[in-house]
């Protein structure tokens, strides 16, 4: 029994010893491991921390403590709110909670502030459990990824930029395999340029983009451009519809996924080519205009007037041959008789860029000085400034101007001489009449708004104004005759034409009474008389005939009678009592004053007519039978003395 007990005790002891040994070994191992672990934490480049379940720090490595500017042993019991702005600390705490709640390791990219600078950090947060398996806190490891992120962003951005440039470029872009020349990519503009779809283009080779006759030189051009031997390459592409479109190409070698590709940027230069052609054409035209212009055109140096070019007209006007001008200065040729005129001109050009039609004087080869008008512009040729001058001789223009000036003066003098009493009276009397007539016309334009009585009144005002006007005209004329100021303008006149003109005018009046004025004009010679006055007499006599004739006709005859022409106006009107005929030509005489007032006569018409005929050395006559009609006639000598 004792032996058994002993055996058992020994066994237990051995077990205890073993257990103790094991525990001791285990403890040693643990201490060693903890040291290793601590040293690892301390030496890791990452920042590491432990927080309890309330996000209160338990410990951290010195790497992190350095950031917080504390010793690592001082972290215990502190929170993020003591180190970071409120919003950031709040976010860290919320993340801690999330990690603890879900119990899973979480990786976050987040903002971090150190020394007032912002960083981007990558954080790994691990939930920490106690021995019972309950969540007790959180372990965090984080490191700076700012630079890495920036580099990534830059790369991404640059890729995006390239894609953007590629797709939205105004130029067509093709990318081809350098070795096989097969096209591997193109943009929208490329589709538009070629009129092919992208799919179709990607099945083509770079050679297929160009017309056959351009392939060789284009491919050589590409090669040279890749080798940077040439800058620009101009060629043509052949579109789907067979159109040859001119393009300028810039190509370069690019690397994609480590492989070399050729990128060609094609610009459609149709418009530019067109403009170039137009410019060439315009230059040709300009050069023709330059040579053929009727104006003198010259190109000279600003500083000294050195002739660079000149047209043919200069030779014709100045008398210098082209070679005598070119290469010489205006000073050598003594072209400007007043050099200060040129200085003035150059000053004006420098100030305002150009001058238009400036009057100057120039000297011909013969020494003759003449006035000219000159227009000048500054033009630039190969970076140097020149004067482009266009000039023409204005001698004739000046002479004509002088003549006109003298003529204007003469006519003005004549008008001043005419400012005698009668003309002043005429002006003064006609001024109010003019205003009355003009305003009657203004009212006349508003006819639609007037009632019957208003219209009637206006007609009455107009009729009486007309009478007043005629009266004024006639009185003035009589006065002119009597004061000897009545002047005839004698010229050769065609009486037949004048008669026809007057009859045409008067028939408008006659037709209102159902009458007609007819003429029987035989061969009437050209006579010398004052056409306006003769017209006045004819108008007056026909007007009277119409006035006093109710039915029948008015006949006008004209015939040669010896050395005179006889003109008669015969009517079928009321006639004139025999005893009244002798007073007929007296001033203001009216056979029937009341009738006349109604018909609008001044009693001066016949008197003036008789005077006019007598001033022409003719005679006025009248024959009449009461109730049957009257015949007024006058003679005009064919030749005036």
């Amino acid at each position: 029994m004792g032996a058994i007990v002993l055996k058992m005790a020994d066994k237990k002891l051995k077990e205890c010893l073993t257990k103790f040994e094991r525990t001791k070994r285990l403890n040693n191992a643990l201490a060693e491991s903890e040291n290793k672990y601590k040293s690892l934490l301390e030496n890791l480049p990452q920042k590491i921390f432990f927080k309890d379940k309330n996000s209160v720090y338990i410990s951290c490595n010195s790497n992190y403590a350095n950031d917080l500017k504390i010793k690592s042993e001082k972290i215990k019991g502190r929170t993020d709110f003591e180190f970071y702005p409120k919003n950031l600390a709040g976010k860290y705490r919320a993340d801690d909670k999330k990690v603890m709640k879900c119990g899973k390791t979480t990786e976050i990219e987040e903002e971090y502030i150190q020394n007032g600078k912002n960083f981007l950090v990558h954080t790994v947060k691990v939930p920490v459990k106690d021995e019972k398996g309950k969540i007790a806190g959180v372990l965090g490891i984080f490191w700076d990824v700012t630079q890495e992120k920036n580099a990534k962003n830059i790369l991404k951005e640059s890729e995006e930029k390239f894609r953007n440039f590629f797709e939205n470029s105004n130029d067509a872009i093709f990318i081809a395999d350098v070795r096989t020349r097969r096209l591997v990519d193109c943009n929208k503009k490329a589709e538009k340029l070629m009129e092919y779809s992208r799919t179709k283009i990607l099945s083509m080779r770079a050679d297929n983009l160009h017309p056959k006759d351009k392939i060789k030189e284009t491919m050589e051009g590409f090669k040279k451009q890749m080798e940077r031997k040439i800058d620009s390459l101009e060629t043509e592409v052949l579109t789907k519809s067979g159109k040859r479109t001119p393009v300028s190409i810039n190509s370069a070698m690019i690397q994609l996924n480590g492989k070399n590709y050729g990128m060609g940027v094609f610009r459609d230069i149709t418009e530019r080519k067109k403009a170039e052609d137009e410019l060439k054409e315009s230059e040709n035209k300009f050069s023709k205009i330059f040579m053929a212009s009727p104006d003198m055109i010259a190109l000279t140096r600003i500083s000294d007037g050195f002739f660079v070019d000149a047209n043919e007209t200069i030779k014709n006007v100045l008398g210098y041959k082209r070679e005598e001008l070119l290469g010489h200065t205006v000073k050598e040729l003594r072209l400007w008789p007043n050099p200060e005129e040129r200085e003035l001109m150059v000053r004006a050009i420098k100030k305002q860029g150009s001058i238009k039609e400036m009057e100057v004087h120039l000297r011909k080869k013969s020494g003759e000085i003449f006035p000219a008008k000159i227009s000048v512009d500054i033009i630039s040729l190969k970076g140097k400034s020149f004067l482009l001058s266009v000039a023409h001789d204005i001698t004739e223009e000046k002479r004509a101007q002088e003549i006109i000036k003298k003529e204007i003066e003469r006519m003005k003098e004549m008008d001043i001489a005419k400012t005698n009493f009668l003309n002043m009276v005429s002006h003064e009397l006609k001024t109010p009449i003019t205003a009355i007539f003009a305003h009657l016309d203004v009212i006349g334009d508003m006819k639609a708004n007037l009632n019957e009585q208003e219209l009637k009144s206006i007609v009455a005002i107009k009729r009486n104004s007309n009478n007043l006007r005629m009266l004024i005209e006639n009185i003035l004329e009589i006065s002119r005759v009597e004061t000897g100021r009545f002047e005839l303008v004698i010229e050769k006149i065609n009486l037949k034409d004048i008669i026809e003109n007057v009859i045409n005018d008067m028939n408008i009046l006659a037709e209102q009474k159902g009458l007609k004025v007819v003429s029987k004009v035989n061969s009437v010679p050209i006579i010398k008389a004052d056409s306006l006055r003769i017209k006045e007499v004819l108008t007056n006599l026909i007007n009277n005939a119409i006035k006093f004739t109710e039915k029948g006709s008015i006949t006008l005859t004209a015939d040669r009678q010896g050395k005179s022409v006889l003109v008669s106006i015969k009517d079928t009107g009321i006639g004139i009592p025999e005893d009244k005929i002798k007073d007929l030509f007296k001033k203001f005489y009216q056979i029937n004053p009341e009738e006349s007032r109604k018909l609008g006569g001044t009693g001066l018409g016949l008197s003036i007519s008789k005077q006019i005929i007598e001033m022409h050395n003719g005679k006025m006559n009248v024959e009449s039978i009461l109730g049957k009609g009257s015949t007024f006639s006058f003679t005009l000598p064919i030749k005036q003395n």
Binding site: Q401, I404, E407, I408, M411, K412, D415, I416, K418, N423, S426, H427, L429, K430, T431, P432, I433, T434, A435, I436, F437, A438, H439, D441, V442, G444, D445, R469, V489, E491, S531, L532
Partner: protein, 117 residues
């Protein structure tokens, strides 16, 4: 629209003529003396109608001061009638028309149209 300047010292006449010409489709401005006319003349009128007897200067004076300096045409208005020969002489020195006062509306418009044709 053609622009006309009418230089006339009688305001009643000037205003009525302005209405008549405007109704006929012109754009008319008036000046009541020679000085006023000279001041307005450079506004680019197609026609300048000048009354010969103005209070401060004659229509001729206005014309001589403007002749060759502006592109407008000129016509005189006067109570004194003009002969054909005289008209021909006037045309030679740059007077395109002559309208005798008083004038009828139709006559005025047709003469102005003729000058501006």
């Amino acid at each position: 629209m053609k622009k006309i300047l009418y230089v006339e010292d009688n305001q009643d006449t000037a205003e009525a003529v302005q209405i008549i010409l405007n109704n006929a489709g012109f754009q008319t401005e008036i000046a009541l003396c020679g000085k006023d006319g000279l001041a307005k003349a450079f506004k680019g009128f197609d026609l300048i109608l000048l009354d010969i007897m103005l209070p401060d200067m004659s229509g001729w004076d206005v014309f001589t001061k403007l002749h060759g300096k502006i592109k407008s045409k000129f016509a005189f208005l006067s109570a004194i009638p003009v002969s054909k020969e005289r008209m021909a002489e006037l045309k030679k020195v740059g007077i395109s028309g002559y309208i005798t006062k008083p004038f009828e509306k139709a006559d005025l418009i047709s003469k102005v149209k003729e000058i501006l044709k």
